[in-house]
Amino acid sequence: MTDIAPAIELKGISKSFGPVKANKDISIRVMPGTIHGIIGENGAGKSTLMSILYGFYKADAGEVFIGGEKKNITDSQAAIAAGIGMVFQHFKLVENFTVLENIVLGAEDSGLLKPSLARARRELKSLADEYELNVDPDAVIQDVGVGMQQRVEILKALYRKADILILDEPTGVLTPAEADHLFRILENLRREGKTIILITHKLREIMDITDTVSVMRRGEMTATVKTSETNPPHLAELMVGRKVLLRVDKAPAQIGRKILEVKDLNVTDAKGVHRLKGISFDVHAGEILGIAGVAGNGQSELLEVLGGYEKATGSIMMNGEAIDLTGAKSDGQSRRKRGIAHVPEDRQREGLIMDFHAWENTGFGYHHDEKYQKNALFMDNAALKRDTEEKMARFDVRPPDPNLAAKSFSGGNQQKIVLAREIERNPDLLLIGQPTRGVDIGAIEFIHQQIVALRDQGKAILLVSVELEEILSLSDRIAVMFDGKIMGERMPQNTDEKELGLLMAGMTGGHS
């Protein structure tokens, strides 16, 4: 160690949320001008630790040193004053404000807005030039893509003269190209002498860009290593506490009959925006069709239409029978009866009722099933509980307690509950959106195995994911969506991330 003071030093940080100990006596040093990665399972306490550094949460114990000086970071104002900026996992932007207003918010010069906005506009331009951070200052946040939203968040920090930038899972919502762009920006920032902390679940990103990496597990900091001295399997093992298979093992697909046939599907949403533009594709028994694409290009609408809760025009044939798309004769319930199961993209908003018990969630969407009825009037709660216990055992849900509320399970386990419910229906077709979003490596491995097993039973699977790695390793066939259209289909063995990335950005004619 030289005698340069670390940019950030945390000593003995502890934090509890009620009975949950999110951080236990954590210490960490980050040297100036470096990029420091933090990895760990869901709920390991990464976001909590960084939120403490940013003054969002108050630590129960511990000290913070910035540039060698002890700082008492009581709120975000203090953190900003200490030169810290943070881009949260879930962006903290005001949706109906413009980019400029979001940047100025909280950092205005005076009581009147006009001069502040004018200055911000000027500075934005120079920051944009300096770091390749292009944004349209007058665009309204809800109208711009997540990539730009993220740049706004970074600009917010830089506008406040941050020397230390924390990014919490920044690439989860980006295309490969956008992620590359982000990493270029981070490189620029590092070159300028800024210090960066990067939280991610993606080991490749850690390997590509960080200088050092810390691993967290169950609220504790288990290791800090130089990136150059480690490798992905080793990191995975540090995280999960056992060896993890990083590749999906699967046999070649045994393609069967046509299960789903989609023709010329069109959707226009409530605001009059044309979301799906003439989508057509098939899915066969025994295959996984992967749909790649940047979030917001119509994948969600496609799943909603197939799942029966969004109206559309066009035709869908399921097992050779037409499905009503007007919403008049067919809804989510009748789709389920026809053998379509659906793991939605957002488990917390759609797949689960967070305040319901696990056993109540087990019947969710299938509450009209014979086996859950006691008689003509009442549901059979005992049967639901028994069913839940079985499912929990089979899907290794932890803790296996049907009486816990869904919200008390971690993200990975919540996802397992949804999967158990849908897969155990033995459906002909499984729709599955973002199966591993925000899920840690250990759980990803399990979930991927389940999906492949279902395929091998001869079921049809439609997989929607923004994770190209996941698409490439699971799919037997890949379709890429952009702007409500299917840009093209590829076989996984004949393509790569680069080509798919171009298609996802709306550019055809890659090098296939």
């Binding site: 949320f17 009620g18 009975p19 949950v20 799942g307 029966g308 809760y309 809804d331 989510g332 319930q333 009748s334 789709r335 389920r336 659906h342 939605p344 957002d346 908003r349 759609e350 797949g351 689960l352 009722i353 967070m354 305040d355 319901f356 109540e360 019947g363 969710f364 969407g365 509450h367 009209h368 009825q373 009037l377 009442f378 549901m379 709660n381 919200k407 008390s408």
Partner: protein, 361 residues
């Protein structure tokens, strides 16, 4: 993430909250120069000290059970039904029409008929706000408030018009003898000792208890209840599960309106035995407080309704025998609502910390 044991959540917190409300009420009573202890004794004695007092307490509680259940079931679907008052008034209209124009042979049949009419009229009054909410996105809070005003005018129209009995009063004629419901006095009359003498509590109380059981079973044991709760917890999840939002909003509000309307068999058929203006007397609004205090659970609603019945009857006795203005009761109600409903966390937060510390130790 439950820092508090269940018993603390359902018993300890409400009790402490009520105590706080009581202390503040005592201060108000002191401030206007009366003795709070005497006032409390008078209230307890008047409301619970005799079967007669109980008869009144239970009568009021019966009203509040119905309106409380109405608010509670709507809340399960995250709908805020402020329209209980208007729905109860319309229920009264239904009861009056049925009792006046149909020659019932026996009170049991009259009760069934009146209950059906009350439910129907109450539901009808909830139907329009429900429809506007489901289909047009009109804020149900606005529409139900407006419908309270409209209901009052409608009742006024009938009571000084078509339904008015001869004479000065804007009221219907007395209902026929065969529609009169047995009061507690009739039911608990054991020769020499008559319980509940002169009190208005009547057989409707048992209907109210049945309504509690009905709502409980509906909400926690049936598919419809499951769908209502799902919709209330998460509209997006409900859509995913194939639950039709329009249907849930409509059905829930119809049930809610029907329950509020059924209050009329207690006050109109059971007590007044005719329909008078302003028959609901604010019970629709008390229902909001009752539901909130009862945590939207039928059993909680029952307990909270009894508490408010006690406040009403005790407060009446207070006004009867002291010079404390009757508005003081409104103040006490306000404090109870404030502490048990809105300032709940003021008690809960420190208590949770305490329990956590105890568990750690």
């Amino acid at each position: 993430m439950d820092a508090l044991p269940k018993w603390a959540d359902v018993i300890l917190i409400p009790v402490i909250s009520i105590l706080l409300a009581a202390v503040l009420s005592a201060l108000v009573i002191l401030a206007i120069g009366e003795n709070p202890w005497d006032a409390l004794k008078l209230m307890v004695d008047g409301a619970l000290g005799s079967t007669y007092g109980w008869g009144y307490t239970i009568y009021y509680a019966t009203n509040f059970i119905f309106t409380g259940l109405a608010v509670a079931i709507a809340s399960q679907a995250k709908l805020f039904n402020i329209g209980g008052e208007g729905q109860a008034l319309l229920g009264g209209l239904g009861v009056a029409v049925v009792c006046l124009y149909i020659p019932w042979p026996h009170w049991t049949l009259a009760l069934l008929g009146a209950a059906a009419a009350a439910a129907l009229f109450g539901a009808a009054w909830a139907a329009i706000p429900a429809f506007l909410q489901a289909k047009r996105g009109s804020h149900i809070v606005i529409t139900t408030i407006m419908f309270n005003f409209i209901a009052a005018a409608l009742l006024n129209y009938f009571l000084i018009g078509a339904l008015k009995a001869p004479g000065m009063e804007p009221a219907t004629a007395k209902f026929a003898e065969t529609t009169h419901l047995p009061s507690f006095q009739d039911m608990f009359n054991f020769g020499e000792t008559t319980f509940f003498r002169g009190a208005p509590a009547n057989v409707t109380f048992f209907v109210a208890l049945a309504a509690c059981v009905f709502v409980w079973a509906l909400v926690w044991r049936t598919r419809l209840g499951y769908e209502i709760r799902s919709f209330g917890e998460s509209e997006s999840a409900a859509k995913y599960a194939g639950i039709n939002p329009t249907k849930i909003i409509m059905v829930t509000m119809l049930i809610s309106g029907a329950l509020a309307g059924m209050m009329a068999i207690n006050n109109v058929q059971g007590e007044a035995e005719r329909l008078v203006l302003n028959a609901a007397e604010g019970a629709g609004f008390i229902g909001i407080a009752v539901a909130l205090m009862g945590r939207n659970h039928p059993f909680g609603v029952l307990l909270a309704a009894l508490l408010f019945g006690f406040l009403y009857q005790g407060g009446a006795e207070l006004a009867l025998w002291t010079s404390i203005p009757r508005e003081l009761i409104i103040v006490i109600q306000a404090l109870v609502i404030l502490f048990t409903g809105a300032l709940d966390n003021m008690v809960r937060m420190p208590l949770a910390r305490l329990f956590l510390a105890m568990r750690r130790a």
